[in-house]
Amino acid sequence: MMKTEQEKENILIMSGNYAAAWGAKCSNVNVISAYPITPQTTVVEKLSDFVDNKELDAKYIRVESEHSVMAALVGSSMTGARSFSATSGQGLLYMAEMLHWVSSSRLPIVTTIASRGIAPPWNIWADYTDILSIRDCGWIIQFASTHQEIFDSILMAYKIAENPEVSLPYFVVYSGFSQSHTSKPVSIPEQQRINKFLPILPEDGWGHLNLNPDKPVTFGNLVMPEQEYLDFRFMIHDSMVKSKKNIHDTINLFNQSFGRDYGGLVEKYMCDDAEVILISYGGLAEQSKDAVDKLRDQGNKVGLFKLRYIRPFPNEELIELFNSGIKVIGVVDQGTAFGNPTGGPISTEVMSLLNHTKNRIDVLPCIWGIGGRNVSVDDQIGLFEKLLYIKNNNEYPTDETCQHGTVWMGLKTGI
């Protein structure tokens, strides 16, 4: 497609982390607070460059811990300042108390996560257990599986989060190292066009967020059980569920404005006539497309159903899939939920929706890529073959990587 002079974009080769820093810069954030942690560190460093070299007019609060990061952003966001952070693994867990503070204060803070394994033992490689273990704290959670998507998602994230009907914080998540530290081209639209899509803050900040001495309000004082505490909680869930419409609208507008083709809460790849479908998320889901292509070449009707969002959860899209006549589904988690029904958080959640269909569907949960363990296209094909085996033989595989009903891909048995 030919672009007009005005629509030209600047294509730069950059790491996933730099794409996050660029996303914050181009969103004209007012306040940044962050604390270094591998593999997020170069986001923090790049943003320091931007701010100290006056390429970005923002206050950068270089605090002494991640708890202070999120506390500082609660403060800044409440003055109406557009506020940004980035973290990973231990840092995200260290923030946990304040993550709830942000969502319960209904603050549109955007934070990027370069996901890594949780210690001990120390592990710094791709693993979404960090974000998955805080998935219920009232933040929108979106996975970005390309560098371009990391950058673009931040612009969309502010637009969605700051919508008064949504007023919820937003995580853009990508995987440590495999995305954070690899370099790819990212196309940066002209700032004026970005500002049109995502206006710079009005001078007084967003009205509904202001700490304003002329209109003094007390926030967060004790609410008794028979007062509205329960109702406030419901409103958070309600806004999260209803944000789906806003998410769709924003993605559509973004696609139109910048010539992209992002899906909605999910992205379907070769699903239409598929008999066997893999449900997956994050960076490895992008790679699943290669596995699908190869299997399709051999005549297998397989497809990929990629979750772009897990909060809000794409209930409707999944139920539609269940009712489409599909026979066998695999659900992969790149993260753990010890002792839950499948050992994987998202496979459990996907399966919780099965009662919305009358169809009998076989589901094989899988856990892969833990702590950065390599998952090749062949490994992915291997998983699809297990799903095809279920379809053809009407029984579940029993090799030793199948433990407690879940495939732990690459499990070293007998150690």
């Binding site: 003055t79 007084d204 001495p213 004790l222």
Partner: protein
């Protein structure tokens, strides 16, 4: 420095920024101190208050006593959230708003000390006030590291084993532009201290000794005397350090002379939390007080001559 008589004539202190009807214990000196702190700071003030009695005594939702924007905050986050408010206003070009952290001793000396130290090191332009009632009173009188030695609390049922942490000296060691101690039971002192702090750019720290009748176990009618005795015994020393120079406040100065001090036992004895103190323990406390008074006097003298 303004006297009581002068103070009552000033128009700007007449409006109440902490409204009547709060849900504090009767006669709570922390409320008194906050009320007078706000009179000094004025209506262009935002308060950030980490978990402490204040989170309760400001009023139960939907009622609230503060007539300024007020954020209830997580226990460890008094200083960090305030730093965010400051940065937010700075990023939006708003310069005339005071940001005050109002925290208890637990939120300051224990769980919040890291964030406090960080905010000071970053030269955050705010006032951090710690009202020190020497224990976790919100949760029912547990020990904090600001609880004095030998105090009986619900987590030190046979008495605490170590002395109170000297938070203001810890803060002073940060090269902070302004640190001062004052008494919650002396509103004029509170007012003057906050007026002084307000005029200074950068981090300011104010340590406010706050007698707590239910927590210390004495008759609430004696609160004012209790504060005065803490100073007269030399147990609590009123001082300030402005731009690196330490100075003992006038109200404490005469009690730096051991002859003029009342025995610390007289101060402790009036409090149920010390009712089981032995003679040796009182002597130990007297020794602690005498040494601190000596040390701070020597320092003030040395710094006066710099």
């Amino acid at each position: 420095m303004i006297t009581t008589k002068e103070l009552l004539k000033i128009e700007s202190v007449k409006p109440e920024l902490f409204l009547a009807g709060s849900s504090s214990c009767a006669g709570c000196p922390s409320v008194l101190a906050l009320r007078w702190a706000l009179k000094a700071l004025g209506k262009k003030t935002v308060v950030v208050s980490p978990a402490c009695c204040a989170n309760v005594y400001i009023g139960l939702w939907p009622k609230a006593s503060p007539a300024v924007p007020y954020i209830n905050m997580a226990f460890a986050a008094g200083a960090s959230a305030a730093a965010g408010v400051v940065a937010g206003y700075e990023s939006l070009g708003k310069k005339d708003i005071n940001v005050l952290t109002w925290a208890g001793d637990g939120g300051t000396v224990d769980i919040g000390i890291q964030a406090l130290s960080g905010a000071i090191e970053r030269n955050t332009n705010f006032i951090y006030a710690c009202y020190d009632n020497e224990g976790y009173m919100n949760t029912g009188t547990q020990r904090s590291s600001s609880t004095p030695k030998y105090t009986v609390t619900t987590t030190t049922p046979t008495g605490k084993h170590m002395h109170k942490k000297d938070i203001s000296q810890i803060v002073a060691a940060h090269d902070i532009p302004y640190v001062a101690t004052c008494l919650a039971t002396d509103p004029v002192d509170v007012y003057n201290t906050f007026m002084e702090a307000k005029a200074i750019h950068g981090p300011k720290f104010i340590h406010i000794l706050t007698p707590c009748a239910p927590g210390w176990r004495f008759d609430v009618a004696n609160s004012i005397d209790m504060g005065a005795m803490a100073v007269k015994s030399g147990f609590f020393i009123l001082w300030k350090q402005v731009n690196g120079r330490l100075e003992i406040k006038k109200k404490s100065l005469r009690y730096m002379d051991k002859q003029k001090r009342i025995p610390v036992g007289d101060y402790l004895k009036g409090q149920g939390r010390f009712s089981k103190l032995t003679k040796e323990q009182i002597d130990d406390m007297q020794n602690w007080v005498d040494k601190r008074c000596e040390k701070i006097s020597a320092r003030a003298e040395y710094e006066a001559n710099l």
